[in-house]
Amino acid sequence: MSKFNKKKSGDLPPVNTASLPDIVFMLLFFFMVVTVMREDELKIANILPVADQVEKLDKKNPVSYIYAGKPSRGYEKFGTEARLQLNDKFAEVKDIAAFVNAERASLREELIPFLTIALKVDKEANMGIVGDIKQELRKVNALKINYTTGKGSALDNMNR
């Protein structure tokens, strides 16, 4: 009685998975696009001050980052005073010379004079540490610096 056997059951047809790779690729590309590579993991509070006369940090030239600010939660044992962070570690002011030389060593020779040091300093920090950093940078002749800031009205920094 083939007439009745032909359509055997009410099974659902299998879900078409042909587009699954597309969806996966879409997600992949999406995350590739929006992901920003974090340079360093911060161990300090780092709320940058804002300014409106800013210039873009030229990424064509090499940039090294120096962070400063007071240790964030979980690192209270390092004190409440503003500290310096180089790469992933807390550092002392005297370590800057070695840091700059290490950064220079990893660059191609013709780019060395263009090395910019970006200072990412928390706005609550005081100028003592910034002055120390600048003095140390002068000693190793790394003179191009950039005070990294957010964008906004500079007068907002005043009311704390």
């Binding site: 590309f29 001050p49 800031t149």
Partner: protein, 201 residues
């Protein structure tokens, strides 16, 4: 009636939809870029000779440990700093600067080339306030340079372009226009209003 299986969904256009979304995100997402105030530190010199600068050519800005601003030994609000710096730089005391529009006050700076802003801070000054003051001083220079750019620009074919826009366009690879001329204008303005900002250690 016999039960019929549902027809298969046509998935051929799924890839198109995926690409459409992909391109949408590609276009709309921007990667944040760092920006800030560029500065050049003075080199360490072994034998520092004292250059004698007339007191009237120095505009002293002091930030004390309580984040108070002292300009020429008087307390000033940060809001007024920009205008005061512009007045000082644009003063043209000796009359040698024909593009200045200042008051020609004999007790203030001689010309923009000689005028020096000296910024001093104490260790206790907070960084946020320091950046604000830096920003205002850079703004004062930019204000004068923008004014000059609007005067010089039209002759070279850059109408209604401020100095800041000129610099941006000069760095922009997509800019259509004569970059050689643009560089000339930028360099001339930089010579006319040199940024002489000294920081006292």
């Amino acid at each position: 009636m016999a039960k019929r299986s549902a027809p298969e969904v046509n998935a051929g256009s799924m890839a198109d939809i995926a690409f459409l979304l992909l391109i949408f995100f590609l276009v709309t997402t921007t990667i944040p870029k760092d920006s800030g105030i560029n500065r050049k530190l003075p080199p360490m010199e072994e034998n520092e000779e004292d250059v004698i600068i007339k007191q009237k050519n120095i505009f002293t800005v002091l930030l004390n440990g309580k984040d108070q601003l002292l300009v020429e030994d008087e307390i000033m609000e940060v809001k007024k700093l920009r205008a005061a710096a512009v007045r000082f730089l644009d003063n043209n005391g000796d009359g040698s600067c024909d593009y200045c529009k200042g008051a020609k006050d004999a007790s203030s700076s001689d010309n923009p080339d000689k005028a020096i802003i000296s910024l001093k801070n104490e260790r206790e000054t907070s960084y946020g306030v320091y950046i604000t003051v830096q920003n205002e001083l850079v703004a004062a220079y930019n204000e004068l340079r923008n004014r000059r750019a609007l005067e010089l620009g039209p002759a070279k074919g850059f109408r209604d372009m401020s100095f800041v826009e000129m610099q941006k366009n000069y760095r922009d690879a997509k800019f259509v226009g004569n970059k050689g001329n643009l560089k000339e204008v930028i360099d001339q303005i930089k010579i006319e209003f040199p940024q002489k900002l000294s920081e006292v250690q």
